[in-house]
């Protein structure tokens, strides 16, 4: 009856397969088969020798749902020991996120908006940019998105800061050692190509959805890649002649790193920071699926309850935020570039 009976019969494995129990529905396809009429098997209908198809012929072969269940069980088994290590390590992240969220919301708007304008001035030294920032935040506050905007900003600040804190040293290590670079590049490639939804899954099992570090980790994993890559690239691109001059005048490798390589790589590092911030923003929206607060929650509400207006407006808010963050970091980058060129 099953398609691959002949295989096990011919190989003499019938005994190993055990008796056909006959009764009971063991797979989805059995169920489907029951619903329709029993038809003659043609070559056209031959299924791929998948786990389920082989199981039909031989009970010893596991079904595919056994595989997924096995994976799940395996993951759950190591989960507790993994948690022992990962939990304390990531606890500061939860703490930082909680505090940042609290501070950004607790501070009154008439302090927060001027403060953000001040920061913009400090970074970009451009009146136009400060005006843009003021206009955008005022607009967002005017349509009552102020709290959500501040939540999103708080999360981005914390996560981007940690990305830079970890990413720059990793990038430096990669630039100084080819072996480190070779072993990290596949990981970076993977982090960059995996759709973010995919690594949300194990994270959900590992941490409870109420913990901020759940989305914090997701955002950092997603957004850290550009700053690492561009730090590595920037340091490797530093003019060989200048490095040689540094050596010829007797610099230690430490002096070379902090006095020559990092300053000369700074434009590239800043470009990485810019991308990291933009990717944090993209991810913080997705992370609203796992309870990250902010504008993403509003987008989600738009989708879930088909509130078109809310969805569109919050989308606009995200665009505005993206423009501001991009402009401000680009202004910082331009200033560094101008300093080195002139």
């Amino acid at each position: 009856m099953a398609n691959y009976d002949f295989l096990f019969d011919n190989l003499g494995l019938r005994g190993w397969c055990g008796e056909d129990e006959g009764g009971g529905l063991s797979s989805m396809s059995d169920l489907m088969g029951q619903a329709g009429e029993e038809t003659e098997d043609t070559l056209w209908d031959t299924p791929f020798p998948s786990l389920d198809a082989l199981h039909d012929s031989c009970n010893t072969i596991p079904q595919s749902r056994d595989l997924t269940r096995g994976l799940e069980r395996g993951f759950l088994d190591i989960k507790d020991s993994l948690k022992v290590v990962v939990d304390p390590l990531t606890q500061p992240l939860s703490w930082a996120l909680e505090n940042a969220l609290w501070i950004m919301q607790a501070a009154p708007w008439w302090m927060m908006i001027p403060l953000l304008m001040l920061v913009t001035w400090g970074v970009g030294r451009s009146g136009k940019l400060v005006a843009l920032v003021a206009a955008c935040f005022s607009f967002l506050a005017f349509i009552d998105f102020y709290d959500h905007t501040m939540q999103t900003l708080a999360i981005i600040f914390v996560c981007a800061f940690i990305c830079v804190l970890l990413g720059v040293p990793i990038g430096i290590a990669m630039a100084r050692n080819d072996r480190v670079q070779k072993s990290l590049i596949p990981i970076l490639d993977m982090l960059q190509t995996l759709p973010p939804f995919v690594y949300l899954i194990p994270l959900i099992f590992l941490f409870s959805v109420t913990e901020p570090k759940l989305y914090g980790i997701a955002i950092i994993l997603y957004a850290i890649v550009p700053v690492v890559r561009l730090t590595d690239l920037g340091i490797r691109l530093v003019d060989k002649d200048v490095i040689e001059a540094a050596d010829a005048f007797g610099m230690t490798s430490r002096q070379k790193l902090f006095g020559v390589q990092i300053p000369l790589a700074l434009p590239n590092i800043m470009a990485g920071v810019n991308q990291t911030i933009m990717m944090s923003l993209a991810m913080v929206v997705i992370a609203s699926l796992v309870s990250a607060p902010g504008l993403g929650v509003l987008v989600l509400r738009g989708i879930r309850s088909l509130e078109l207006g809310v969805g569109l407006l919050s989308g606009l808010g995200i665009v505005l935020l993206a423009i501001i963050l991009d402009r401000v970091t680009k202004a910082a980058l331009a200033r560094i570039n101008a300093e080195q060129k002139s």
Binding site: A245, A248, F249, G250, V260, K341
Partner: protein, 350 residues
């Protein structure tokens, strides 16, 4: 002679490639650069180099592209490690130095000027000039005076607060030289320091270097592939080819007695009248010749004498040094010296 040798290179070999020691044995057995490359894929960078560089003088290393000049000069401060051989600076073998001692050598005893300037683009001209002091951990206030002095000396008054990119190539190289001078080291290594500059500025820089040398008498190791530049600057000239020394010695001597067709081809094209000096062509004697045309200094170029003689080749000149006759210059000898020997003659004669 040997007590005023500052840098001494002994039996230096450098082979680039995966297994230099094995390749070295083949070179010892007599294999040449081309064969070695074809057979083992190793590049013979330097082949048994022996040079004594006199203290307080300019040693010029000359050779065509790929002859190993840069490789050689980078051995003098160990930017490149040799495959075999020794490098003595002030009588000490620098290959025995540990890392810390080597850094001190590079900070205090040697400085370097680069073809592409290699200034720090994010530091001002003053900070670049004071680089060696910064490396030693001294503050800007400590080196400002010294650095400003040398910047002024190389002709960069009032540029201290500019950034390198704001200066022209010639001015950037002046910063490079000021950086080397500010370190107050005795030895200055210059790898094609003027090759990236256009001809007029290049001449200016050569004159600047000669002036500085008259004043400071540093031990300069200068690399060039330009014979005119080499002859203008050199007290001691070393000619490299395919990683070995073809000939070395006083430039005038090399010009008049080239050892090998390669060098004859090299020296064939230059304006000999402008380069050769009376002292290299004269006859040493204290007798007065007949038909005296006048007195010339021993360090005059032949060009000057020709101008003086107005083309009369029958005259003789008395050669003076410090007011005393040291020899006689026959115009016939002078004219003969102007014509280079034909390539191949040296090999036939030797």
């Amino acid at each position: 002679m040997s007590d005023d040798v500052k840098i001494s290179v002994r039996n230096l070999y450098k082979i680039f490639g995966g297994n230099p020691q094995e390749a070295l044995e083949k070179v010892h057995a007599g294999m040449g650069k081309v064969e070695l490359q074809a057979e083992t894929g190793h590049v013979l960078g330097l082949n048994d180099i022996n040079i004594d560089m006199p203290a307080g003088k300019t040693t010029v290393i000359m050779g065509l592209s790929g002859s190993g000049k840069s490789t050689l000069i980078r051995h003098l401060n160990r930017l490149i490690e040799p495959t075999a051989g020794e490098v003595y600076v002030n009588g000490e073998n620098i290959l025995d130095y540990n890392e810390r001692r080597l850094r001190r050598l590079r900070q205090k005893e040697m400085s370097m000027v680069f073809q592409k300037f290699a200034l720090l683009p994010h530091r001002t001209v003053l900070e670049n000039a004071g680089m060696s002091w910064t490396i030693e951990g001294k503050s800007k206030r400590a080196y400002a005076e010294e650095a400003t002095k040398w910047l002024d000396r190389v002709g960069l008054e009032g540029q201290a607060d500019q950034y390198p990119a704001q200066l022209s190539g010639g001015m950037q190289q002046r910063v490079g030289i000021a950086r080397a001078l500010t370190s107050n080291s005795d030895i200055m290594l210059m790898d094609e320091a003027f090759s990236a500059l256009d001809p007029l500025i290049r001449t200016d820089m050569q004159d600047l270097l000669i002036e500085l040398q008259d004043e400071l008498a540093k031990t300069v190791v200068f690399i060039t592939h330009d014979l005119d530049e080499a002859l203008k600057l050199a007290d001691h000239l070393v000619i490299l080819k395919d990683g070995y020394v073809v000939q070395q010695g006083e430039p005038q001597n090399i010009l008049l007695h080239p050892k090998d067709p390669y060098i004859e081809a090299f020296v064939g094209d230059i304006n000999r009248a402008r380069v050769l000096r009376v002292r290299s062509v004269m006859q040493k004697t204290s007798e007065r010749p007949d038909n005296v045309g006048g007195e010339v200094d021993h360090d005059d170029t032949l060009e000057n004498v020709i101008a003086l003689s107005e083309g009369d080749t029958t005259k003789n000149y008395i050669v003076m040094r410090n007011g005393q006759q040291i020899g006689v210059l026959h115009m016939r000898d002078l004219v003969r010296a102007l014509v280079p020997r034909k390539p191949g003659e040296a090999a036939a004669a030797g």
